[in-house]
Subunit: 344 residues, 2 copies
């Protein structure tokens, strides 16, 4: 196994080479600021002593970390089980790699995102799926850590990378209403952790308002919609909700995330309910078909692109470029095999 020999420091090299620490530092990071002879001698001894500069100390001294943080809205094993989130991460990470940065996945600490932020050592934070109102918002402000949201909400202090949530959810709902569905089950995302008070700027509220608009257009009363508000964004929890949904009498399920939808489909199939003949279903995100289920009709979100844009925006911030606002990214409804007119 590895032996923990003590690290060689810059002082060792300085002493051994007969130069100052400054000289050594320059030899490594600013060759032009030191004589050729001195530099050679220094690098020589550094090599001989197997000196590796301590990146930790360097970063600390330079006040940077060469790391972007990705703040997870829920437990890590839930988030990484969601292909949509992973795809966002892939976009984020690609840009990090291009900049020589690491991407740090930051799960909540004891269910607290706030605590996680306090412990995080990163140059910038990217959040996903919730509003930064209140606690975390002022915390990052105190820490002088730039923050960019993905799927966040309107906030005067932070940028958010989003699709047009109202419009997308309007179209999603309209798609099924136009097919004739009138008895609906709507599965929402879990209440955002960071919005203590009811807040109409978060992603859930905005989508709900899109739904309401569509329902209004088709004169469908809210009472004919059954809401499922306690479903985690997981396959398993979708599956779990399947039972109640099946028994709700709905002819169509509208979910705010594909991963839930696939869980629901799995349950339905296991229980002899045919999709879409018996129950139609439409999702949100557009992840790949899951567990052998048929391809979902859904709202496509450019996940990878969202990650990329968020990271690029973050580097703009870090490198002092002014950023007016994050752009709306495009979405579209993609056809799968899970929608048809209601049976009767």
């Amino acid at each position: 196994m590895q032996m923990n020999r003590k690290r060689i420091t810059i002082a060792d090299i300085a002493r051994e080479a007969g130069y100052s620490k400054t000289a050594v530092s320059f030899a490594f990071n600013a060759p032009e600021r030191i004589g050729a002879a001195a530099r050679e001698k220094i690098l020589e001894t550094a090599r001989a002593l197997n000196y590796i500069p301590d990146q930790r100390a360097r970063n600390f001294s330079l006040g940077r970390q060469l790391t972007l943080g990705f703040l997870l809205p829920q437990d890590l094993d839930i988030c990484l089980a969601n292909p949509y989130i992973v795809e966002v991460m892939r976009g984020l990470g690609k840009i990090c790699q291009d900049h020589g940065y690491m991407l740090s996945i930051i799960p909540p600490i004891n269910d607290s995102i706030y605590e996680a932020v306090k412990k995080a050592t990163v140059d910038g934070l990217v959040t996903m799926g919730y509003l930064v109102s209140g606690g975390v918002g002022s915390l990052v402000d105190l820490m002088a850590t730039p923050l960019v949201m993905i799927d966040g909400g309107k906030d005067e202090n932070f940028l958010s990378v989003n699709i047009d949530e109202e419009k997308a959810s309007f179209m999603q709902m309209e798609r099924v209403l136009s097919l004739g569905h009138r008895r609906l089950a709507v599965v929402t995302l879990p209440a955002p952790t960071l919005t203590p008070k009811a807040d109409d700027r978060g992603i859930v509220s905005r989508r709900l308002s899109g739904y309401r608009a569509a329902l209004g257009k088709y004169d469908v009363p809210l009472s004919s919609v059954r809401f499922f508000n306690n479903t985690e964004t997981t396959f398993d929890d979708g599956y779990r909700a399947g039972c109640e949904i099946m028994e709700s009498g709905a002819t169509c399920v509208v979910t705010m995330s594909d991963i839930q939808a696939y869980g629901i489909m799995h349950y339905l199939r296991e229980h002899g309910v045919r999709v879409p003949q018996d129950i139609s279903i439409i999702g949100f995100d557009n992840i790949c078909p899951y567990r052998g289920e048929k391809k979902l009709t859904t709202v496509n979100q450019p996940a990878y692109e969202k990650g990329r844009i968020a990271a690029l925006t973050m580097f703009d911030l870090l490198e002092g470029r002014t950023v007016e606002s994050a752009p709306l990214v495009p979405f579209s409804i993609v056809e799968g095999e899970t929608l048809c007119p209601p049976a009767n």
Copy 2:
């Protein structure tokens, strides 16, 4: 947008509260080592001044980082597109979360894993898919950074979490040989970046030796096997290889990774080749079916579990517990719908 007000430091609090920095430090991190009155006064002023301890400085001083690093074998966007790797990461991350750690994804810098390691600020490194021989091995030794491999190879200096590669690949190959296949296409993993010299301890070599053993048992000459050694571990590159494979006359494809296999299947289906009637295929890893392809017969690896074990091992190392060796994790052949006897 955020305003970058200057951070309050421990010195500010000390001065303002009329105590020393030590006292402030204790007030936060060792309440029992300071009087109640002093503590109260200090926390009071800290609150008033919105003081947030600088985690960077704290970590630097304590010589830790509260972060585990996950060293990627290839570009980040390739790795995160592989569900097998993501699942490993999920296992790693879960344990990190349990320990209040972050998980840092470390992509190569300019194609160099070595450079990435030098820049990384983490308490421990977990690698994936290659041997740590040579450069990186001695580097982490100099940096005194503990390292644990996943899918690495035999190495006297580092632990590796693996299945029994020889046995698994033997069984994988035997599975198709026993069905009667004699003309085979074998798709390997790309040559591990970190093994400059031919090395027989890496994962690819070990699996090849399993293949040889199985072929020997069935008296099948190596000449009846067509090797594809330049296929990246991606869906797209599998797809790309599909053409040559189709034309190779093989009745069965044996791949070292599912993601390649699904790419190949996609190509075959698009070109009217039926799986398994025309060409059988067997994979490795056991990821979920991809892009609507049928479920692959494959070797199941407990990816999540591998990640967990690697992380747990790492924390053993970090917390000074002695670790003899990483255990072999179990594997199994799982039946899909992609295997049948050869046609003629």
